[in-house]
């Protein structure tokens, strides 16, 4: 891990839309808020000072409602939209300095993107859609078809290679989109709300598929969504975005158990906490001997142990990664933890107006 550069590093990325960019920049530096800047200069602050890095094999989810700037942010990362300021480094190379040719080369070899409305080419067969990236790179036809068929079989669409995208269902179309992105073997994959146009069952199926693919591939993923549940399910880390700014960045558990403010708390109210919070958060440090019975692991989520706790009032031992017993958990502690966060959620929901 020492010499290897971070796959994606984003520092102070800001994007302004409007005519009076320099005026708006000055106001930004003075710390004016989004509305003030819009009123005074007519410029929209789409993304403000986004700083984060994503390590190899990690899934970084950016979650926010529409208009929060998440789509703009993901486009800044590949310079589909030119950021106003800030540095973005891919594998240690600042991409802001690349000329058109170098940027194209970067997109061809290292990046890929899956789009919200699939962005498929309706005049090309599925296989030509999937092979598009290789075609752009100038790979010979037989070679690119071979590779495309390989990827199509990964997403389970080998039999549909000669169809046109419109002949496929929404879920299948997005599998084509996914296959197209995977075909060029990118190091970093961007997902722009890829599953939001699908119906709930298909969406869940696709999420599971992405998780299993990622478990095998270990790529670097940046995933945009407006669905908090999806963020919890897929993300190793989540950034909650509001009005162009990151409100909180953390693991799903950190966000659910310690929301940074009321805005984040509102999302967590109906979150499936027992699927996110680990046994570790409810752990009482070990005093004396380990309790009898099979211990649970420190990174198990509450869901995994609830059945045992409800069936038996006794304490359960908790073991860490090395298998040593480090603490215990019991009914009362889990109840207290869950009660606390849902009460806080209920209060905040009652206080502020609901957002759409």
């Amino acid at each position: 891990m020492t010499a290897e550069p971070t796959p994606l590093e984003c520092t102070g990325t800001t994007k302004l839309f409007g005519d009076d960019i320099s005026g708006a920049r000055a106001l930004l530096a003075d710390g004016c808020d989004r509305q003030q800047i819009l009123d005074r200069t007519g410029c929209l602050v789409a993304v403000r000072d986004a700083t984060f890095s994503v390590s190899r094999g990690e899934t970084f989810v950016v979650m926010g409602l529409s208009g929060s700037g998440k789509s703009t942010l993901i486009r800044c990362l590949s310079r589909l939209i030119e950021p106003t300021s800030g540095t973005i480094k891919i594998e240690g190379t600042p991409i802001g300095d690349l000329d058109d040719q170098e940027l194209r080369e970067l997109r061809r070899r290292r990046l890929s993107m899956v789009f919200q409305h699939f962005g498929l080419f309706s005049h090309r067969r599925v296989i030509d859609n999937v092979a598009f990236g290789l075609e752009i790179q100038g790979v010979a036809k037989s070679q690119r078809y071979e590779r495309a068929l390989e990827v199509l079989s990964v997403v389970g669409l080998s039999d549909w290679a000669d169809h046109f995208p419109q002949q496929l269902s929404g879920g299948m179309q997005q599998r084509v989109g996914l296959a197209r992105a995977l075909c060029v073997e990118p190091e970093i994959l961007f997902f722009d709300e890829p599953f939001s146009a699908l119906d709930p069952l298909i969406r869940r199926e696709m999420q599971d598929e992405l998780l299993s693919l990622q478990a095998r591939m270990q790529r670097t993923l940046v995933f945009i969504t407006h669905d908090f549940h999806e963020a919890l399910k897929l993300g190793d880390r989540i950034a909650i975005m509001k009005d162009g700014e990151f409100v909180q960045v953390g693991t799903p558990e950190q966000i659910v158990s310690a929301p940074a403010d009321d805005y984040v708390r509102e999302f967590t109210t109906d979150a499936p906490k027992t699927k996110v919070i680990t046994v570790g958060s409810a752990m009482k440090p070990l005093h004396g001997a380990a309790p009898p019975g099979e211990p649970v692991r420190v990174d198990d989520v509450l869901d995994d142990v609830l059945a045992r706790l409800l069936a038996d009032p006794a304490e359960l031992g908790i073991v860490d990664e090395r298998g040593e017993v480090v603490g215990t958990v019991d009914r009362a502690r889990v109840a207290a933890l869950l009660g606390e966060s849902s009460r806080a959620g209920a209060v905040s929901a009652g206080r502020s107006t609901p957002r759409q």
Partner: protein, 672 residues
């Protein structure tokens, strides 16, 4: 209030009358001067030897080559090629009809003229596409270019075809090359517009996806944007072809030759039968080109069907046997074609061709037959096939004159119709506008209309246009044309809107009306005059009637479309309140369809103007006649140019007024 002002002005100025002729600017003389300069300097000045003449020579060379090739081809090869192309685009039945259509050219002894027109079309459309598609692509890429092109294209589409001939004649003289240049200029807008539109309507996310894969702008255009825009581009080419055909025919006036020449000469000598024969040949050509490009653009309904018989007969055994036989022949042909094409498959550039066995076989067959015929000696179109119905049509014209003019010796008949229209509508209106009303009153009335519809800017524009007519010295002629336009528009609206309403209410009526309207829209304006002349002889009235027929489809179609476009919910709501059909129509459907109907009226007026001008050829008088005179005789090209300019002013005036009117009827969306 406005009316009162106009009446008061007229009472005060009753002695003034038409626009004083002495005020006219001697523009015509200046133009004649310029024309003389052009003639004298054609050989010496650099702009000719380096710009105009090379263009001219290039086009001329291309035209000669295409024409020579087409006329060299044996007649059956041409017919077979047309049949095969149509079969590929539309199916076997249409293909056979196309073959018969081409044979018609030979049958009425218009083979050479028809192929001359085809050659003119090929070169003109080829140049239009070669300029238009890249221009459209550029315009889709650069917003600033689009912004500066748009008003130009708008203006180009407003003007009647006719007007384009004059400046071209001024620079290039009278011949076939200027005809092609005028055609290109006239037919260019649709292909530019629709290429632009097609590329711009490719979804942004699709383009973004291509960019994300590192595609260069060129790759994005070639692999994504252009293929997706292709249906739109082909629609543009289809429209360009139809527009080119309509002007190529009129361009006979400046020596383009071909079928238009035959129609024109025959009409001039009142050989109506011959004119109809040539006119029909033009219609055949128009339908052929329209349907084939329409089908190729994928706009036609069912494509590539090797069915000969209507589907309704599909159950009878002999028909099925025939269809099966055809299908097996097709399979056999495919196999032969595929084996012929197999050597092509290895060469990278021709691999796409090799995937179309029918195409390869067809081309090979045509080539073999052509070469064989060339060796044996090119056969003439067999005289046994020829037939002429010109004399019968001439007889019909006489019969109509003798019998329908006053049916059965009574007062009623076409004669009565045209006489009463002349006496009670056209002549009084013309007199009123050109002489009885004081010219400032006319200017004032138009200005007031402009002010009501579009405020001060439009009022200024209208005043300038109307006054311009006077200063050009074209007051009387303009008012003559204007009067004809008014009468024709009123008639077209009185016929068109009720037809549209009926079509909207009855699917059966709509189905019946559709082929008629399609037919009327496919016929080039000029050809439409011929059948009207059979019924009404020459003069202003046939011109007006042809204009009504020409403009009718627009009014009917847009009324129908507007009413059918009214949401089902609105109609249902009206019914739920117990409204009768008439009440629903009057209170809900017509008001909601008003924007569409206004757009229809707008188009009607522009089409009528274009046609009334052309009717100057057959005794319609007015500006059209003056322009034609200018085109015919080199010594009066100046006054022809001025008349053309007056047409432009009139067209722009009407267009702007109607656009403003249409906007007033279109509900503005509230909110942001």
């Amino acid at each position: 209030m406005g009316l009162a002002v106009v009446v008061a002005a007229q009472l005060a100025l009753s002695a003034v009358g038409g626009f004083p002729e002495s005020w006219a600017v001697p523009l015509a003389d200046w133009i004649d001067e310029a024309r003389r300069w052009v003639i004298n300097n054609q050989t010496t000045h650099w702009s000719f030897s380096f710009i105009f003449n090379p263009i001219s020579d290039f086009i001329d060379g291309g035209l000669r080559a295409v024409e020579g090739f087409l006329l060299w081809l044996p007649w059956y090869v041409v017919a077979a090629a047309a049949a095969m192309a149509t079969t590929a685009a539309l199916g076997l039945r249409a293909g056979l009809l196309a073959g018969v259509g081409v044979l018609y050219f030979g049958a009425v002894e218009l083979w050479d003229e028809s192929l001359q027109t085809v050659a003119l079309m090929t070169v003109a459309v080829g140049i239009s596409v070669a300029i238009g598609v890249p221009a459209g692509i550029a315009s889709a890429r650069y917003d600033r270019l689009q912004r500066s092109l748009r008003p130009l294209l708008d203006a180009m589409q407003t003007l009647p075809a006719f007007v384009y001939l004059i400046p071209v004649v001024l620079l290039f003289g009278v011949a076939r090359v200027p005809a092609i240049i005028a055609t290109v200029v006239y037919a260019l807008p649709p292909v530019i517009r629709l290429t632009d539109l097609g590329i711009r309507s490719v979804p942004a996310s699709t383009v973004e996806a291509a960019e994300m894969f590192g595609a260069t702008p060129r790759q994005t255009l070639r692999k994504v944007q252009f293929p997706l825009a292709l249906p739109s581009v082909l629609t543009g080419i289809n429209q360009t072809i139809m527009m080119a055909l309509s002007i190529v025919v009129i361009a006979a006036l400046i020596g383009a030759g071909g079928l238009g020449q035959v129609v024109l000469e025959s009409l001039r000598r009142l050989f109506v039968g011959r004119a109809l024969e040539a006119g029909l040949a033009i219609v055949v050509l128009a339908m052929l080109m329209d349907r084939v490009t329409h089908g190729a653009a994928g706009l036609g309904a069912r494509r590539r069907r090797l069915r000969l018989m209507p589907d309704s007969l599909g159950r009878s055994a002999p028909v099925r046997a025939l269809e099966d036989a055809l299908e097996s022949v097709d399979r056999l042909m495919c196999r032969v074609g595929a084996s012929l094409a197999s050597p092509l498959r290895r060469s990278p550039g021709l691999a796409a061709v090799a995937r179309r066995p029918r195409w390869v076989l067809g081309m090979a067959a045509l080539a073999v037959v052509t070469i064989a015929s060339a060796v044996v000696g090119r056969p003439e179109f067999p005289s046994a096939f020829s037939f002429s119905f010109a004399s019968r049509i001439d007889w019909l014209v006489d019969w109509v004159r003798d019998n329908l003019y006053e049916i059965g010796g009574t007062w009623f008949g076409t004669g009565w119709f045209s006489d009463s229209m002349t006496i009670y509508a056209v002549t009084p209106l013309r007199e009123l506008l050109s002489a009885e009303l004081a010219w400032p009153v006319v200017v004032l009335a138009v200005a007031l209309a402009g002010w009501r519809l579009g405020g001060a800017p439009l009022a200024t524009f209208c005043t300038a246009c109307v006054a311009g007519l006077g200063f050009l010295g074209m007051w009387t002629l303009s008012m003559d044309t204007f009067a004809q336009v008014i009468v024709a528009v009123v008639m077209a609206i009185l016929c068109g809107i009720p037809l549209g309403v009926l079509a909207a209410r009855s699917d059966r009526f709509e189905r019946m009306l559709k082929p008629v309207l399609d037919f009327l829209q496919t016929i080039p304006s000029f050809v439409l005059l011929v059948p009207v002349i059979i019924m009404f002889n020459v003069g202003r009235i046939p011109g007006i009637i042809a204009s009504v027929l020409y403009a009718l489809p627009a009014a009917t179609r847009l009324t129908n479309l507007g009413i059918r476009g009214v949401s089902g919910e609105a109609t249902e709501a009206s019914k739920a309140f117990g409204a009768t059909r008439g009440q629903t129509l009057r209170k809900v459907q017509l008001p909601l369809a008003a924007p569409s109907i206004m757009a229809g009226i707008n188009q009607t007026v522009m089409l009528v103007l274009a046609m009334v001008v052309i009717a100057g050829l057959v005794g319609g008088g007015g500006l059209g006649l003056e322009t034609v005179k200018g085109l015919r005789r080199t010594d009066s090209v100046g006054s022809g140019f001025v008349a053309g300019l007056a047409i432009v002013l009139l067209a722009m005036l009407l267009d702007r007024l109607l656009q403003a009117g249409t906007r007033r009827f279109t509900p503005t969306k509230s909110g942001s």
